[in-house]
Amino acid sequence: MSEHVRQALAVFEKSLDRRLLAALEVCARCGICAESCHVFAAEPDFRNAPAAKAEAVRRFYRRLHDPIGRWFPWWVGAKDLTEADLEELAEIAFGACTLCRRCTMNCPMGVDTALIMRAARAMLTAVGKAPEMLAQLADAAIAREENLEFFREFYIDQIRELERELQEQTGDPDARIPVEKVGAEILYVALSGAHTILPAAILFHAVGADWTLSLFEAANYGYFLADLQRAKAIARRIVDEARRLGVKEIILAECGHAYTVLRWEAPNWFDDFPFRVRSIIEAAAEWIQQGRLPLDPSANPEPVTYHDSCNLGRNGGLLEEPRVILRAVVQDFREMTPNRAENFCCGGGAGLVAVPEWYEKRMRAGRRKVEQIRQTGARIVVASCDNCRLQLGDLSEYYGLGVRVSGLMDLVVNAYLAARVKAAVPAVPARVHAGEPV
């Protein structure tokens, strides 16, 4: 047994809790899950079926833990894990599964194949067989905190420039993008880049929120690596900042996995977690329902469809809020089929979009999504996750779909600014164009 295999198995044994054991044990090999997986739907090769992917883990699990597998491995298809198997496992767990859990929803036994794939990812990350890019992005996020003094100046400079745009768009020379404001109610955590800061700033300004912008970005590539230590280190930067500033609430930019991490995982990771976590989608839906945002949907006249991100929708429960928003801000909203919890993954989730070598792979995996979008006849596809947005943009180009990809908040801002103009509030803002970086 090589050192890598020994190390990988040690990580596997550590992750063998009751949930993982159940996922490994209860598969009835009925094959029902196959059609539910977008990877299989795009390429109906049996190796793309969820149960076949999980088999790459079950094989060595049975060798180690099944009484028959220990003595008569051939009888139950048990097999020792080898170095070559690790290479194959990396292709499967990182390259052929986006951890979307659609198969789990459709499995009569509720087998959580994504959990098995996460366990495989953790093993592979521990022995350096995870995609290099994911590890680098995770480490860069950690470096951002370690060198905060160096970055703070750059960052605040950028924010001041954005603040000028905010003032222009709102017509309010006193509009601010506060950073490190002690005692603010809300800590808003954006993604890297202005496209998730400016629309949120306009909406916070509109409802008079007491907010401050985080120094850190919400993305967490440690989570994609299934590396708990890195994932926690990246999340801790935000949790520490929220504690330091004494905020009551963390509001996250439109991002699928960041929501999973900070809304569902982080409260279990840290003892002291005295804040509510919401996505800006929840906040915006609430403001709309409370009538706090004047909106003019004629600002978004083109047909729009919505792609439910797996992390936000199926796995995060944000199914109706995006629809509350869309019905209020666009003129022609068209559901894709299936939708909500049954929606298909875009094919770029769980870090795939960041791995250049897997471009063709993810373009193939997105075929089902392309069909879904085509059937709606929409000109704009809204996705509340940067990962999905990148993938959908690439799919549109690759398959000649000719759709624009937009975040939800861009459309809210369009409708809000148009309503202000109509109401003759003295602001003549430049619109945030759906699908374009600000």
Binding site: E132, M133, Q136, A140, F151, D157, L162, A219
Partner: protein
């Protein structure tokens, strides 16, 4: 700062994490000691590229804003 680049990249219009992804790809195509000069528009690179350089052990020679475009120069050290 004037440098002679081995490779020049146009990363304008790309959103995070693509500028970092592209730099990581490109750096393999220059020799150790080689220089990449890149132009981007996403303000996120102002924090992401220095952080990536620190965590990968490459040298950020310069990063500067020229109107709406951010120019940065990276030297491959590893």
């Amino acid at each position: 700062m004037e440098v002679k680049a081995d490779l020049t990249l146009d990363l304008k219009g790309l959103l995070c994490p693509m500028p970092v992804v592209k730099i990581n790809q490109a750096i393999k195509n220059v020799p150790i000691g080689g220089i990449i000069e890149a132009y981007a528009t996403d303000p996120g690179v102002m924090a992401d590229i220095p952080a990536w350089c620190r965590s990968t052990g490459n040298e950020l020679v310069t990063i500067e804003k020229q109107d709406k475009v951010i120019r940065f120069v990276v030297r491959r050290l590893k």
